[in-house]
């Protein structure tokens, strides 16, 4: 478990005052009620004053703040800190980013990349964000993932250009310094931020960490797979090596629910389990398609065409044992384009309706209109049925 991130909103009216202008509509904006509710919740018990406007009543009053009401969208929010011109909310429209924006506004910050122009600003930045990425470069960086991670601070510390009046500097590339939720610091050279996302979190998460919005944002942004390690106690160290090998997979340690530890992973809609956490090659075998899942999409259609062997996901393994050199094509009720292609072939052919079926032997989920050729029991060629060439042999 690591520290929960908290962005502090202004609680002391003597220190900061800020007005928030909120434009919503109960009639013509479906998300407005929820948006208003979040804004009310975030500003409760703070010194932030929220003034509400709506097209049905007082939208014209926004003009007194210098806001052009001809180009408004719903919902809209502006901050008016210390009687300065209004600044419109421009972050992604999520609860996390609304909270971040309110916090930024109180610090007179109007962007997700904080320029670190003095040592005092660096100290302030590091004090404000428990988890941050400091970017050292001579040019202002573009950080797309800043718009996905509301609670991670991104700071830019400008560096001098390499060519100066007193000689050419040596600067060791573009650098990032990352401090994660456990206070660990990492240093990276010439790496995109999207490749170092795992530094933001502990290598192997605990299950309860996944309930944190901060973790959810990172996991949903950077991962497509999940490995669950059900074991009480310490994991073998070699699991840390798996982190680099599977950069799009999140590793989570969970309490052991039975007598034996388990490693569980999810791949597409298939679930794989082994009764150990000490098998170093198991995960690679799963991704190689050599491990049978405990759960696999498998369903035979009720309407089966006579003359074509219909397969479900569970039947595929047996089919390729019986027919190691064969074709399987994929279809759905709206697309049976492969049917005509294979109608005259003499090769062993089977078909599988998708997306109701899947199989671990395929590295990607089969799609309707494609077919795979098995040779010696292995899927060797995959193509669209429309691109198949039919060569006719004339018996002499």
């Amino acid at each position: 478990m690591f520290f929960v991130l908290i962005l502090c909103l202004c609680l002391n009216s003597a220190v900061c005052t800020m007005q928030i202008l909120s434009l919503t509509s109960a009639r013509s904006c479906g998300v407005c009620p929820e948006w208003s509710s979040i804004l009310t919740e975030l500003t409760a018990n703070t010194s932030i004053d929220v003034l509400e406007f709506s097209p049905e009543s007082n939208v014209m009053d926004l003009q007194s703040y210098g806001i052009d009401i001809q180009t408004l969208s719903l919902p809209s929010v502006w901050a008016v800190p210390n009687d300065t011109p209004p600044r419109i909310f421009s972050y992604p429209r999520t609860r996390g980013f609304l909270e971040r924006w309110l916090s930024d506004a109180q610090d007179n910050m109007w962007g997700l990349i904080t320029p670190l122009l003095s040592l005092e600003e660096i100290a302030k930045f590091e004090a404000r964000f428990p988890v941050f990425v400091e970017i050292l470069s001579d040019k202002s960086p573009t950080v797309d993932i800043a718009f996905a991670l509301s609670q991670v601070g991104f700071g830019w510390y400008p560096q001098p250009p390499l060519d100066g009046p007193n000689g050419t500097l040596r600067r060791y590339g573009n650098n990032t310094i990352v401090r994660n939720a456990n206070g660990q610091v990492f240093h990276n050279v010439n790496q995109s931020i999207s490749t170092i996302w795992r530094q933001l979190l502990p290598g192997v998460l605990e299950e309860e960490d996944l309930s944190l919005e901060f973790v959810k944002e990172i996991v949903s942004t950077f991962t497509t797979g999940e490995v669950q390690l059900e074991v009480n106690g310490t994991l073998p160290m070699w699991w840390l090596g798996q982190l680099d090998e599977y950069p799009s997979t999140v590793f989570v340690q969970r309490p052991q629910l039975s007598d034996t530890p388990k490693t569980r992973t999810f791949r597409r809609e298939m679930e794989f389990v082994t009764a150990t956490v000490s098998n170093r090659t198991w995960l690679s075998e799963v991704y190689a398609g050599n491990v049978a899942p405990v759960v696999r999409p498998s369903l035979l259609p009720e309407d089966r065409r006579t003359g074509v062997h219909e397969l479900s996901g569970d039947m595929l393994s047996e089919w390729i044992v019986e027919q190691p050199d064969s074709f399987v094509y994929f279809y759905n009720y709206d697309d049976q384009s492969c049917q005509n292609v294979f109608s005259e072939t003499s090769e062993p052919v089977a078909r599988m309706i998708v997306p109701e079926n899947d199989h671990e032997i395929f590295t990607e989920r089969p799609e309707s209109g494609a077919c795979v050729q098995f040779i010696a029991g292995r899927p060797v060629h995959v193509t669209l049925c429309s691109e198949l060439k039919l060569v006719k042999h004339v018996d002499l």
């Binding site: 670190l116 040592l119 660096i122 100290a123 590091e126 941050f132 400091e134 050292l136 510390y157 560096q159 001098p160 100066g164 007193n166 000689g167 050419t168 500097l169 040596r170 600067r171 060791y172 590339g173 650098n175 310094i177 610091v185 240093h187 050279v189 010439n190 790496q191 950069p247 690679s284 991704y287 190689a288 074709f327 294979f342 005259e344 072939t345 003499s346 090769e347 671990e360 395929f362 590295t363 990607e364 089969p366 799609e367 494609a370 795979v372 050729q373 292995r378 899927p379 060797v380 060629h381 995959v382 193509t383 669209l384 691109e387 198949l388 060439k389 039919l390 060569v391 006719k392 042999h393």
Partner: protein, 598 residues
Amino acid sequence: MKSTLLIGTSLFAAANALLPLKNFPVKGRNTADFDKTNVANPSCAFATLTQLLPAKTIDTYYASADQDLGYIGGLATRIQLSDYSGYNYYMRGETSTNLIKGNINGGWGAAIPLSKRTGVQCIEFEEHTLSHLQRGDAFCGRASSGIRMHGTTPSYIKGGDDSAGHDFAVSESVRFSVLDNATDLCASATYMGPDGIFADSSCSPVSSYTLNQPTNTPNGISLVIRSCTDNSQGTTCTDTIGSQTFDVAIASTCGVSGGANGATFSIGSVEEAFVWYRYERPEYTITTTTSPTSAHPVIISPSTGPNSVNHWLGDVLFVQPKQVVYAPSTSSSLDVTPLYVTSATASVSFGSTKNGNEVDEDVAVCAISQGVDDGFNELNDAAQTISARCTAELDASVQLNANTLTGCNPGAFLRSSLVQFARIHNTHVEVGTNATAYQGSHILGYQMESNGAAAKYAAIAGLTGNGNTKTDEWQCEETDKCETGNPFVVLHYGEHADMYHTDVEDQENGNVERLSVSTSSGRKLFINPATLGDGDAAVAYTYIIGYVDFGFGCFQESGIYATTLIDHGGSRRLGATAPQKWETHSQMIFAGGHHVDI
């Protein structure tokens, strides 16, 4: 007829029997650069920018004057590099093409430990030559500092301890400041190197800084230009200390070549220098006016530029009043001139006591608090053996010439507060005081009682009456609550008053009838700022300021006595009739003091 199917373009990859076909891209990843398993220093740890470059990495402050010693002031630039393990530090001046490494075996042959990558550059001005014993620890360059400038031979830069220093003659109008690059600032030897003037010595540091510097650096040279003009107030000189720029570069020893080694590098040759920090100090000026009637300078303007240095009290801190601000006459029947006030003086002096006995002031070694090792006193060379306690004393007096007044009874009063501050803010701002000479008017006098700085501090501390003190409770101005002002303790509050009557004898020659009112706080022990509490335990400075509210005038009525000049019957004094008793009156406030780095 049979048909054979030929496969065209692959749509999705088929699984390989042994290896995951969908391997993950490694291109663009450059983990070898800082891979701990492949570096010169495998135990290195990484640091954040704040750890590498603390907010006070390079800081400038103004060392205030000491009017008693003729010390005009100085400008200190402190350089303190982080000693975070796993990194090498380099510095250079703006014009240098070389980087000097901060922790190397080289230079003068001494190994500079990681914990001492700190230096102080001092640029100082003295009205005359001070011995190293005269130079208090509060000075920019400390008691035996190597580099300073003195007024009697303004073309000289003087080596620290007079017995060991060397003088370097330069042109009359151009002076040098020096970035000390020795193992310590306090010089036992000073010499002209190929790139500048260097001091080499050993002594204890200024404040909490350890005084070591990257070796052989030529980067401290800064032109100091003096221009003087004579005017009605005396001679006004402006010393302009040129701007300076320092570059700091940091390289990780976790790199493949360990962050580079050696002493001096060309700017482009340091491997893994990934952080560059530039510090720019703007031009700084000190303007002084030396009055022909006063031996002491009056600091008019301590700084220029919005980002120059910390704002110290400057123009009010060491102003010795040379003339009295008087009120205009309110009655034509009186012929009041400024001459009726012949002097108004005030001063704050410092010393120490040991076992109840006063210690020679020249031995400026004393502790802020009881005990020899209180963790605050780093003012001296022998911190472990200090037994003397630091003291401060406020003295003030006003003298009237009764001969110039006719038809009324002259009187004067003093209120004085000796105040110790704990500096918790970057600036010396004393909130709620009016510590400037006050131009009186006919409605002033006692009506301004609550506006006087001395009375203000006494009122906040809840002190009334002569000789009261409060040493056990830090105070904040009521409305500010120390948000911007510094907490303080009133070490002494005094009230003195007297009236001229015919029974006051001529002090001089029978022709001039004088009335003198004086006050003295006596020596008061410093309060340890650590008593401020845990939350402010990091207080870096304490300083003393004396405030005196002068009041003087002439009563037309008879029957006015000293006891009625100062009392606390505010309702009477603020009423409609009481001020009218003063036919003429003035009030001014003096603030004099001294800062002490601890």
